[in-house]
């Protein structure tokens, strides 16, 4: 593969100096998303979505809450990688740097907001509050 130097071949980093990390992480989070978002979509179709109490009890279940946290990590990491490629294709110059910084804020902030919402749902009874009173 390629005609790089011996050391370059060993490190396998290529022209971007990031090797295949981005590519591989996109595929691995894609597999995670198939399972986790698949679970979410099937759940959403089966839940009485207008009933706050029922949906809250579903989300407070430890297994479901764990799946939701994993989903938030996998989805937001995957969308960060995907939107990065979009920015690299269409945004040039200094604007690209700004866009990538904003993308990181969005991805990390969004995942943190989501995970904190799941924590609020799960810990509402432990805090002695009615569901959602936290």
């Amino acid at each position: 593969m390629g005609n790089g130097t011996q050391l370059g071949k060993v490190r396998g980093l290529g022209a971007s100096h990031h090797g295949s990390h981005h590519w591989l992480q996109q595929r691995l989070t894609a597999l995670g998303n198939v399972l986790l978002v698949g679970f979410l979509v099937v759940s959403l179709l089966r839940l009485p979505l207008g009933d706050h109490g029922a949906v809250h009890r579903w989300a407070a279940n430890p297994t479901v809450a764990l799946a939701l946290v994993l989903l938030l990590v996998s989805v937001f990491w995957h969308l960060r990688l995907g939107l990065q490629v979009l920015i690299e294709d269409y945004v040039h110059g200094a604007a690209r740097l700004v866009a990538i910084v904003l993308l990181n804020f969005y991805a990390i902030g969004g995942a943190a907001f989501g995970i904190f919402a799941v924590v609020r749902i799960v810990l509402a009874p432990a805090a002695g509050l009615a569901p959602g009173g936290m």
Binding site: V34, L45, H52, A59, L68, G93, G110, V118, G133
Partner: protein, 147 residues
């Protein structure tokens, strides 16, 4: 830095010189659906999850905005957002199925399989058709339960 400066290096010809094929449709739809899910889908999900955590009132406000306002006198704002919300949800359903199917196609292509002209054309077409059909089936299922 790369980007704006002119370059003497050879450039790839632009898209319009190629004859359009299903693989190109599948490719651009993968990007469109992925970026739609990444921005609109993720924000809708966070809004829903945040409303769920914030309590029954916040959750009811979310439902009244994006799905159906139960109050007898619905504001003009909610009349608009109730229609808009359903349109966005149909769009997100399509984006989910499209991105799922074309994403699975990409995982298969990553193994080196499916690049023969006929096979590639067939599965690119199947993926686009399956996205539309799965969306239609899902919404028939949802609406059948609503009415």
């Amino acid at each position: 830095m790369a980007g704006n400066e002119p370059s003497a290096r050879p450039r790839a010809p632009h898209l319009q010189v190629y004859k359009w094929g299903p693989h190109m449709t599948a490719s651009i739809l993968h990007r469109v659906s992925g970026d739609g899910l990444a921005i609109v889908g993720a924000l809708m999900f966070l809004w829903w999850l945040g409303a769920l955590a914030s309590g029954p009132d916040a959750y009811a406000a979310f439902i009244a905005c994006v799905w159906r306002d139960p109050s007898p006198e619905i504001t003009l704002f909610h009349q608009v957002t109730n229609i808009l919300g359903k349109l966005v949800l149909v769009g997100l359903t399509w984006a989910f199925f499209q991105h799922l199917f074309s994403g699975l196609r990409h995982l298969l292509l990553d193994t080196g399989a499916g690049y023969e002209l006929k096979t590639n054309k067939l599965w690119a077409s199947v993926v686009v058709a399956a996205g539309v059909l799965a969306t239609a089936a899902t919404w028939i299922h949802i609406l059948a339960g609503t009415f």
